[in-house]
Symmetry: C2
Subunit: 186 residues, 2 copies
Amino acid sequence: MNSASAKALRSGGDPPARDFAPESDDAIFDMMELFFFAYRDFVKDADRLLEKYKFGRAHHRVLHFVDRRPGLAIAALLDILKITKQSLNRVLKQLLDGGFVEAREGANDRRQRLLYTSPEGAALARELARLQSARFVRVLSGLSPDARRSATEFLLAMIDQDERASVRAHLLVAAAAPSAGEESPP
Amino acid sequence: MNSASAKALRSGGDPPARDFAPESDDAIFDMMELFFFAYRDFVKDADRLLEKYKFGRAHHRVLHFVDRRPGLAIAALLDILKITKQSLNRVLKQLLDGGFVEAREGANDRRQRLLYTSPEGAALARELARLQSARFVRVLSGLSPDARRSATEFLLAMIDQDERASVRAHLLVAAAAPSAGEESPP
DNA sequence: AAAATATGTCAATATAGCTGACATAACCCG
DNA sequence: CGGGTTATGTCAGCTATATTGACATATTTT
């Protein structure tokens, strides 16, 4: 049941045995905490603006991904967010009701409801993105191109291996998306 | 009230105008999403083990920071987590009841309850850390020392400027803590 | 026509956070 | 000493975000 590697636990008072990683268990622990703190601060950036609309972070995520990938189907959005459709539905309904997101019947498959931001939704999405990207702009402008590449590489590598392909695809689609409509084949 | 840079919004169907940042608004948007996906996957790592103890992520965070910084006072923990004492109390009580965390009266200030992990708590904390650090080990081992430094630098820079000092201090304390007892002066 | 798919919805539940109000004990200061 | 501040606990109620399970509807696929 217990730790496989917890040998000399600090049960008495001896220094914790940092011996299983070649050269930097400490560094790794530090990075884990940095990651926590960095994310904690990052998500906070948009909160004040969201409050004005009585929206939460869930709304933000939906709005963001719909804006980035116009014509996104419900199922695809669920897959990105990794939540259930019931969870999505509440926030999505509020976004639809508020006129920030629109759903159109799929052209090929009329069961689908493809999601698009309205002009107001797009404006809000981008304003939120601007708030959050300010942090990135500040950080990245202080890094050399090489360091930027390393940071990007680092983040990508942090993603589950079997997710990485679809994330990469997502980024490409988002970048390429002219104003797209149809989904690519499953 | 609207986005200052949202000129040619995709109201009709024209390509989104990615023109306001010198060379890489796209790159920044991509990084923001990578950050989201990376964190989403990162926090997931420990969940299965936590379930066995009927604990959630909130318990994990408390356990982690108490283990990393033995003798942590309640107020200091609240400051790290940025939550209210009422929120903390529920999970902390469960950790105390379960014998994973112990609270001792402060030596200098008897109002304080200084927190320590029990041997079981420490074992759990480290097993959880091991699960999560596995991801970091995998990622960092694929990066050059330079790239590692860049990634670390990136994460640190992502933290709020006025928090950075205290985070740095936290890391140092955690690294230095032998199995410590007393707090350093406030 | 039957089966599978995409989505919506109702209901109940859990977790993690919040505010506000109030209580207790211990410390600090004049 | 006595009053103010600090550290913490606790009660009560609220919100946001997620879950599972069951069932409904329309549409596409076979």
